[in-house]
């Protein structure tokens, strides 16, 4: 019965997410926060579960994570088309936040008490570099959002959500061609930001 119980809890949780997505679509900012928080928990749990399951193989397929989160929702068969679009947007943003939070805590853990007892390994070196990358990328993306929110959302969907061009276009409500072009401009912008000011366009 534990499985049935879990399923019921999951169904209830899905209700809440969809409910929040509905309210968010109607312009309720608190509901969007709520949806984000719930999806965040899902995405975070799925991500960690996947990493744990694959053990030594340290590759996380974020696309699979977001899709699993989606399937978990869809299993209860109550998402309408608009919900689906909205869900991907929220889930992609959540994926970005999951990575960022991991990175930030990783940093604070290294700075905090007990850091000296943590042995430094080769794997840690990769983790450190990824920690720096995600924090820089997040900052660049935040700047892009301030300039052009739609470009930033397309990046979130494509990059963190792992959505295809077609899926992204549906989620944003534009044509495939627009997404392709937008992605290219956004990529250029982010690349430019990540490369640092020395490569900037100042004469």
């Amino acid at each position: 019965m534990a499985a049935a119980e879990a399923l019921r809890d999951e169904a209830a949780r899905t209700h809440h997410v969809t409910l929040a997505l509905h309210a968010a679509r109607d312009g309720d900012p608190a509901a969007l926060n709520e949806a984000f928080r719930l999806v965040y928990e899902d995405v975070s749990a799925i991500a960690r579960r996947r990493v744990a399951r694959h053990g030594g193989n340290r590759t996380l397929d974020t696309t699979a994570v977001v899709h699993e989160a989606y399937l978990k929702m869809a299993r209860h068969g109550e998402m309408v088309w608009q919900d689906r679009q909205h869900f991907f947007a929220v889930a992609s943003a959540a994926m970005r936040q999951v990575l960022l939070d991991h990175a930030r805590r990783r940093q604070s853990l290294k700075r905090g008490a007990g850091a000296a007892h943590v042995p430094y390994t080769e794997a840690d070196s990769a983790v450190d570099s990824q920690t720096r990358d995600i924090i820089a990328l997040d900052a660049a993306l935040t700047r892009l959002a301030a300039l052009d929110d739609q470009l930033a959302r397309i990046v979130e969907l494509r990059y963190f959500g792992g959505l295809t061009i077609e899926e992204t276009a549906q989620a944003v409500g534009v044509s495939d061609a627009t997404v392709k072009r937008a992605w290219r401009r956004a990529r250029a912008f982010l690349h430019h930001e990540l490369a640092g000011p020395s490569l900037g366009g100042e004469p």
Binding site: T14, V17, Y40, V127, R184, P203
Partner: protein, 873 residues
């Protein structure tokens, strides 16, 4: 980019967009045209074009390719449990996994000092808990820390490990979850099983009520969050439960009355099926204890019917939420008829969509469950339309009456202390404190407060009594007066047991602080005596009446004196000493005649007491004359809708009915009915009682159809007031059956009588006399319909019970024996019939009051002997 100006970015972006669409060799020329003199723009676009052409390594592969190591580098709680098993967390060593809640994984863990096994909850996200998650996790620990109740798992310790795991340790509960427990039980279709399940529900209510008092609202009550413990050796202790998972509980400041949740409440948490409509709808601001009360209602509904009140399975989410918010639950009685009446009323009241119409506290909900179990009238009003309409009136009436009682108490208390300057000052202080206190009482009833307007009078009183005890400690006089007022108010609600200690306390306070002859002491004696009479403690009641009388005789206040005398007189009536009672009524009348006059309502009240006593002494004519005079006085001096007048009219009617003056009786009954309908509305149970009497009168006069209409109305009122699963309804139905049989409508009569029999059999003790009435009626109907075998069965059952209840020579047995004679005769069993008639003759011959029957019995016996057809054939 050097820019953070969106307008400039749009320009730059437009240029970039256009250039990217061109082949690389065409871009420079076009950039010249587009940028013109804007060198800065040109430089930025060129930088971006350069970036476009560079292979990036980060952005060209999805995030999944990049950050696996980062995620993999955190401790895993969702992974294999072996990682944590055996680990030390705080002072505990983890033994194994028990389960998981919304945000935490629960392990079994062992502590060596003190040696104990605990349930250790560890935050699921481990080191990487979000601030929100962490806040909620800590809040759960804090919630539990505030609670100290056997029905709630106690928290022992909380902390954080060196590597960042948050944990807290709780009491380890051995038991099964409520759903598992329910699956192991027999179906809830017997009284015993319903009682067992009710006991578990009450235990849960007890725990939640404690949480509410400590300002904690659970908000996630569902069967998986409740553990039922194995039965202890002590059967009297009842079932033990533990409520778990305060994971989304809310802590609120202040007392339980103001327990609501903050705006940042977790709107969508909890499990939909058990959520209150306001919680499912996401009205976080509206969530308070009443949301838990709804969830308890769902639990109780499910426990007793095996179903959820609102089934949302298969519905799309918006539809499911709409159902929860709008769809009325299936009536519990339609699923299990043992739930008819009060149990259904209680469950549906807890499940009312509007929180203001629910029980306002778990204590009130549990109290009604207990009252229903103990066959006491419940205090919650059923949410039917008729009650909805009347509720508004009643609520205001209770509040206003109660305000009146309190203010009268205040005035009396202050009035008694205004002698001399010092006492006047003290009185002012008392007035001030009392006024503050009164305000605090009525704040609860203020609809603008969070609890809404529908605070029951009961809750108001409980609240007030608690305040009196805490706030007026140094004001014994005011406190005594107010306690007396409260005791009185409880008494008016029929809560005699609750009333008694308050009245006794009030009297003790007054005797300690007032002069021995103070009229207030007399008043308290008098009120307490009336209560004790209700509780059938007649000797104690008499003591208090006499004490009141002694003080009042000295004070020479004629009205009070007369009232005390009638109190004593009523006691004598209770003990069937009608002559003594009559003397006391006459003394009261003499006093009142002098002070208020022989035409005053008070005089009429004493006179009606005397009339009843005389009636019981067999002085029918003088009793009728006295009551006629009472009615004449009351018609002159009372309002046309006064209930005292209605009482006099219907009593006088019954006097005449007994004297065979049925037409006059009917006139009086109809007038009484009109008065009651004006004063109480058409659906009041007093109206039902008068309808019963009027119907019987019409039946007696042979107006069967008219009697039937009256009895049908009576039945409808009882159905609304107490439900169909109640002896009052059964008896009204039985009346209808009698009328139908009188009218010769045998088939309908038998149908109603059988229904009545089933109801009475379920709702009355096995050997109740009302059952035998029904059986004899049914027998007569079966005889009329020619179903003699059925008639005999009924009679034999009635005979056995009546012989035990009344004795073999009683009038009740006589009635059955005669009827048995008739049935036997019709069945052609002439010897048997003769035996019955001879026994009937023997009984009638042994009793003075049955001598009149002898002739009729002899003539029927002669008929049998001569082989004539029996009556009714």
């Amino acid at each position: 980019m050097s820019t953070d100006d969106p307008a400039r970015w749009r320009r730059l972006d437009a240029v970039l967009d256009e250039l990217l669409a061109l082949p690389p060799h065409a871009r420079t020329g076009r950039l010249d045209e587009l940028a013109g003199n804007d060198r800065e723009l040109r430089a930025e676009v060129e930088a971006l074009l350069h970036c476009d052409e560079t292979d990036d390594g980060l952005l060209d592969h999805p995030a999944s390719d990049h950050f696996g190591a980062l995620l993999a580098a955190s401790p895993q709680l969702d992974g294999p449990d072996t990682e944590l098993t055996g680990r030390e967390v705080g002072p505990f060593r983890i033994l194994g996994r028990l389960g998981e809640g919304g945000m935490g994984v629960v392990f079994e863990a062992r502590q060596s000092h003190p040696p104990r096994t605990v349930a250790l909850k560890v935050l699921r996200a481990g080191v990487f808990a979000g601030t929100q998650q962490l806040r909620m996790f800590r809040r759960e620990a804090e919630s539990l820390g505030r609670l100290n109740h056997p029905g709630i798992a106690a928290i022992h310790d909380a902390g954080r490990t060196g590597d960042g795991l948050h944990w807290f340790a709780m009491e380890r509960v051995h038991g099964e979850s409520l759903d598992a427990w329910l699956r192991g039980r027999p179906a809830p279709d017997t009284r015993a099983e319903i009682a067992a399940r009710t006991a578990v529900c009450l235990a849960v209510c007890d725990a939640i009520s404690h949480a509410h008092q400590r300002g904690v609202v659970h908000l996630d009550l569902k069967p998986s969050n409740i553990m039922v413990l194995p039965p202890s050796g002590d059967a009297a202790a009842g079932p033990a439960v533990k409520v778990l998972d305060f994971g989304i509980a809310r802590i609120t400041g202040g007392d339980a009355a103001q327990t609501t949740v903050g705006h940042e409440g977790r709107a969508f948490a909890g499990t939909l099926a058990y959520m209150s409509p306001e919680q499912a709808g996401g009205d976080v601001r509206d969530l308070d204890v009443r949301s838990d009360i709804y969830s308890l209602g769902v639990l109780y509904y499910e426990m007793l019917t095996g179903r959820l009140p609102v089934e949302t399975g298969g519905a799309a989410l918006p539809e499911a939420v709409r159902l929860i918010r709008e769809q009325a639950p299936a009536r519990p009685a339609d699923l299990c008829r043992l739930l008819r009446g009060d149990p259904e009323t209680i469950i549906l009241k807890a499940l009312t969509k509007d929180p203001a119409q629910r029980y306002q506290s778990v204590a009130a909900f549990a109290e009604d469950i207990r009252r229903s179990r103990d066959n006491l009238p419940i205090l919650g009003r059923p949410p039917s339309t008729a009650y909805q309409l009347r509720k508004i009136v009643v609520r205001h009436r209770v509040a206003i009456a109660f305000a009146g009682v309190l203010l009268a108490g205040l005035v009396a208390a202050i009035g008694g202390t205004t002698f001399g300057l010092v006492r006047a000052r003290r009185a002012e202080a008392a007035a001030e404190r009392t006024a503050v206190f009164l305000e605090s009482v009525f704040r609860v009833a203020d609809p603008s407060e969070s609890r809404g307007g529908a605070v029951t009078a009961r809750e108001l009183l409980d609240h007030a009594v608690a305040d009196i005890d805490s706030q007026l400690v140094d004001q014994p006089q005011v406190r005594g007066r107010l306690l007396a007022s409260m005791g009185n108010a409880y008494r008016q609600l029929g809560l005699y047991r609750e009333s008694r200690p308050l009245l006794e306390q009030a009297l003790a306070l007054e005797r300690a602080t007032l002069d021995a002859d103070d009229p207030r002491i007399a008043r308290s004696h008098y009120v307490l005596a009336g209560l004790l009479r209700r509780l059938r403690e007649l000797d104690a009641a008499r003591e208090h009446y006499r004490a009141a009388l002694a003080i009042r005789e000295k004070a020479r206040n004629p009205d009070d004196l007369a009232v005390s005398l009638t109190g004593l007189a009523n006691l004598e009536v209770d003990e069937s000493r009608f002559a003594e009672a009559s003397d006391l009524y006459r003394r009261a009348m003499a006093i009142t005649a002098e002070s208020a006059g022989g035409d005053s309502p008070r005089y009429a009240a004493h006179l009606s007491g005397l009339a009843l006593a005389q009636w019981r002494l067999g002085e029918a004519d003088s009793a009728r004359a006295m009551l006629e005079r009472v009615v004449a006085i009351q018609r002159r001096t009372l309002a046309p809708d006064d209930l005292d007048l209605a009482w006099s009219l219907s009593t006088l009617g019954s006097f005449y009915a007994d004297g065979e003056q049925t037409a006059r009786a009917r006139e009086l009954g109809e007038e009484a009915l009109a008065v009651q309908e004006r004063a109480l509305g058409p659906d009041h149970t007093d109206v039902a009682e008068t309808l019963d009497m009027l119907g019987n009168l019409n039946h007696k006069e042979g107006h069967f159809e008219r009697a039937l209409a009256l009895h049908r109305r009576e039945a409808r009122i009882w159905e609304k007031a107490v439900g169909t699963e109640h002896p009052y309804y059964g008896m009204a139905l039985d009346n209808c059956a009698k009328d139908l049989s009188g009218a010769g409508r045998w088939a309908e009569a038998i149908a109603d009588a059988v229904r009545a029999r089933d109801i009475l059999a379920r709702t009355l003790p096995a050997e109740h006399r009302a059952l035998t009435y029904n059986q004899v009626n049914l027998a007569v109907m079966f005889r009329g319909a020619g179903e003699l075998g059925h008639a005999r069965t009924q009679l034999e059952a009635a005979l056995a019970v009546r012989s035990r209840l009344y004795g073999d020579d009683s009038l009740e047995v006589l009635e059955v024996v005669i009827e048995l004679g008739r049935v036997s005769a019709l069945q052609g069993r002439r010897d048997e019939a003769r035996g019955h008639y001879e026994r009937a003759l023997a009984i009638a011959g042994s009793r003075e009051d049955a001598a009149g029957e002898m002739g009729a019995i002899r003539s029927e016996l002669a008929g049998v002997t001569a082989g004539r057809p029996a009556p009714g054939s």
